[in-house]
Amino acid sequence: MIDALPREPLGLKEPTLPRICLVLGKGGVGRSTLSAALGSALADRGERVLLVEWTIAESIAPWFGSPEADVDPVAIAPRLWAMNFRLDAVLRTYFVDHLKLGLFYRHVVDGPHVRAFIDAAPGLAELMFVGHLWWLTTLAEKEAGLVFDRVVVDAPATGHGASLLDLPGTMASLGATGLLATEIGRVTGMLADPAWLGAIVVALPDELAASETLELVPRVTRDLGRPPLAAVINRCVPSLESKAHPAWIERLSERLSPTARDALEVLTGDLRGRARRAEELSRALSGQTRHGTFLLDEQLATSGKTSPRDVVRALAEEIRTWLPSIENSGHSPEKGDAR
């Protein structure tokens, strides 16, 4: 069923980073930003990269000054493309272009009742999404002339995103035969292949996001049968402690008006809390991912960057420095912890 898989993916130089990188994490952690930055970093070193979103309003392409992307990949930067999954369009492609069942599609699938069923049936949209990732990395070249070395997927927010991974189990329990069974078999093979697909979990150094991440990582490990490639803690802040001037905050605080003094206390409390939690979270995640935990700086605090595109660019630079530690070793769990 998965005979069409090219064993030597096009132009893929480092087989330790899988063909598809699925970026998971709850809403607001910077999943799209990280996906775009990872994609940019890979494109910068010469790969053809597709960024896949599945959202009501596509966000990455506009950061690059392009209109919102739809199902057809649009070029947003050199060697970098973006697309947004849309069930109806992908269903059409699946039946008409892939299965060559245009007549069946027009008379049955596209009928209001079957379409409504497909929209409503649990797991079918997710199956089509994961199936589309399969297609993008196998037949898309032959059937649609789409050639990508790497696909970076900005997965839907936590609950939904992680449910993509246990899809084969849930769908298999339906006892399906026919096309559905074929699809399930395909995506099962893809999800089981570490060279084909891997997950990257994004977290924030705040209490609530941290506890979710600690739930998400074991879940991904269970569903995929292997740990995520890496965890990324986004929006980390530099330490405020200064050896040379231990009491600088107090000295500064004394000179402020009461309003500003209170605000400084809130701000430094927040930044210190983040620094502490990033450390706790990366300790808690130690050994739970294949390549370790990577910390990304809050760009506002370090580089003063605020526009999404500048942030993506700055993060892509940081990511480029980690890629070797992900790719050159089977296990270097804590290497990325050093910033």
């Binding site: 009742h113 936590t158 069974a181 609530l208 979710e212 402020l256 309003t259 003063g304």
Partner: protein, 373 residues
């Protein structure tokens, strides 16, 4: 319905959950009988309240003013789709056998498993159920899933209506008893045969039989769910309902607020207020910048030891934060009649959680009332 509904919407990470918890605590302290429904599939609300919540509403304590007999009450629940479905299946099942059959049905299991993604739809139903079960509730505060996901809260979801409103249900109902009688196609004609045949070509006959069973078993339950959903939607459109659009000092959160406001408009709704959360006073940036600037031309008396690099980092951060805050405030102000600015507060992660949360809720309520005047 007499209770007032308060719905918080916004991008992920803007502090909706914390604000919802604080708002509920503050309302309870001032004497209301408050319900707090967390619907985040990732269960963030319990972290914010520091208690373990379940699907069934539980009384929350620890917020009462010391030495004062509490006049209000706070009941909180966390939406757990699988528990909701089980409870709704129980209340609608005609007999124990069909309930047992339903709980074995693979479609039902898959539905229960998958509904995490549709938590907002269930939440709307849960909101109406809440009013049925605790009619004395005066205020119901609802936290929602991040971003546009929450918009399902406002819609009549296809996932439920398709089974009831399409003709598909009649065909599938016909399929269910046919299992004992024989071939699927015998009971179906014309368009029905084509649709069901198409489905079986997609997924196999067994799948269709299971689906037929599912539909006939679940019909009463779905009808009840839809009736509650309609009630919740009427409630949402009630003039007393408060829809709070929450944003933090982040450009992407402001973008999300715009998109949510657009989706609300499309549903015939509008935010009652926009809440800019975690604001800092502009004075912080100006004072830090002035203090850490080392400009010899100003001829100041030399400040003892010079400021370390960290002080400059903080000053720059504060300045950029305030700039972004002003930009975000300007961007979201047109989205609703009122903009409430909630200052960043300390202590929300620490031990004094309930009092810090209540203080946050008080600030939000004061802000909303001040904007009312």
């Amino acid at each position: 319905m007499t209770a007032r509904l308060h719905v918080l919407l916004g991008a992920g990470g803007v502090g909706k959950t914390t604000l919802a918890a604080g708002y509920a605590l503050s309302l309870a302290r001032s004497g209301s009988r408050v319900g707090l429904l967390g619907i985040d599939p990732a269960r963030r609300l319990q972290g914010a309240l520091g208690v373990t919540l379940r699907d069934e509403a539980l009384p929350v304590t620890g917020w009462e003013e010391p030495g004062v007999a509490p006049r209000g009450a706070l009941n909180a629940a966390l939406l757990r789709p699988e528990d909701c479905l089980r409870r709704w299946a129980e209340e609608s099942a005609s007999d124990p056998e069909s309930l047992a059959e339903l709980s074995r049905n693979t479609f039902f299991l898959a539905l229960a498993d998958r509904l995490a993604a549709a938590a907002d739809v269930l939440a709307a139903i849960r909101v109406a159920e809440w009013a049925e079960r605790d009619p004395a509730t005066t205020d119901l505060v609802v936290d929602t899933a991040p971003g546009l996901n929450a918009i399902d809260f406002l819609r009549r979801p296809k996932a439920l209506t398709v089974f009831l409103e399409g003709r598909l249900i009649h065909w599938l109902r016909a399929v269910a008893p046919s299992r004992s009688r024989g071939a699927l196609s015998d009971v179906l004609r014309g368009g029905a045969r084509r649709a069901v045949g198409g489905l079986s070509r997609l997924g196999g006959t067994r799948l269709i039989l299971e689906l037929g069973d599912f539909v006939s078993l679940v019909e009463a339950m779905l009808e009840r769910m839809l009736a509650r959903l309609d009630k919740a939607q009427k409630w949402l459109h009630d003039p007393t309902t408060e829809i709070l659009l929450v944003t933090a000092v982040r450009d992407d959160a402001a973008d999300a607020a715009h998109k949510i406001a657009g989706a609300l408009r499309a549903a015939g709704l509008a935010p009652t207020a926009t809440v800019l959360n975690r604001a800092l006073p502009a004075a912080l940036a100006t004072e830090l910048t002035r203090l850490t600037r080392s400009d010899p031309s100003e001829n100041q008396a030399p400040i003892e030891p010079p400021w370390p690099r960290e002080a400059h980092v903080i000053a720059t951060y504060a300045r950029l934060y305030i700039e972004m805050q002003e930009r975000v405030a300007a961007a979201v102000a047109p989205l609703s009649p009122r903009l409430v600015i909630v200052p960043a507060a300390r202590g929300l992660d620490e031990d004094a959680r309930a009092s810090a949360l209540t203080a946050l809720g008080d600030r939000l309520r004061n802000g909303l009332q001040a904007a009312d005047r």
